[in-house]
Assembly symmetry: C2
Homo-oligomer: 206 residues x 2
Amino acid sequence: MHLSFQSLNGFTRPLARLIDQFERLPGIGPRTAQRLALYLIRQPKEQIQALIQALQDAHTQVGQCQICFHLSVDTLCDICHNENRNSRLLCIVADSRDVIALERTREYKGRYHVLGGLISPMDGIGPELLQIKTLLARLEKNMIEEVILALAPSVEGDTTSLYLARLLKPLTQVSRIAYGLPVGSELEYVDPVTLSRALEGRRILE
Amino acid sequence: MHLSFQSLNGFTRPLARLIDQFERLPGIGPRTAQRLALYLIRQPKEQIQALIQALQDAHTQVGQCQICFHLSVDTLCDICHNENRNSRLLCIVADSRDVIALERTREYKGRYHVLGGLISPMDGIGPELLQIKTLLARLEKNMIEEVILALAPSVEGDTTSLYLARLLKPLTQVSRIAYGLPVGSELEYVDPVTLSRALEGRRILE
């Protein structure tokens, strides 16, 4: 009878299970998982409920914009929904975090298209797994004057930029944000000023 | 109408709320909070439910042992419940994490008493806020041959050890784990071998 409450690695079962759940999260090691679990079981019930509610709401309510595939609660995201944004300018990014990083610059007034990743043969990610068909459909359906490629300066980013440039140049003008970003960095962590310069300094691909 | 879904720092509301909840946790900065939230909303429903269940279970089920104040699901913890443990030997620690660290050494076969902190006049923590009355009650009620003070080698640990040594020496033999631990370290992070040596090398206080 007492067995069901036996210790796991010194922790009582429910605590061990919570630690285990935290350890599954990216970048959370055993020490951090322990610290978080021990912290949380001492917090008032209201804080736990707020965390649980936030988890549930974010998971059930946040989906993807049906046009640009940015994270969105509604069918259309705030940017696609906003008629003041320039619908003839399209910025291609790998991830929703990159949209958020670019929005922080307050420089860009066009729309986005979120690929959902980068071409990476090593990881078995080919163009068919990215939002490229939907991108082509947007270009067919709408008058797009310029497509800006805003992908990280990495092997995968370069591969994807090259692939998209070849694919899109027959259809519209294609540019790429300037290499103001240090090579090897990730777009989402670049400061807004550097990102602004990279946007301004973009060059038409020929 | 659309206002209720407006972006907060570029994130949709439910996501911003989840990030905010994560940022309240100790040692979780804005970047980690974002990473965790964006990771979790992409996981299958089952994983979110498992995390929520673990949080709820740990928070509602884990309490304190009524004898030693170690974390416990039952009224008595596994250690107080275990009749093979030496009930005449009592190890005093600041926190439940220290019990777990000491249990990992597999050297100690006595019982524990968890103070719930250390005396710290700077933080307004006096002896009355710690489990010291309950410790005295245990000593009165039970035949304790030795009390081992296993507190961190810090100002607060030393203050608390001194205070307890004076209080307990008229009642029983009082020892202190050896300074094998590097000064400034925290007991829970010391490796089991060093902790074992510190236990072996304990000296009777005179």
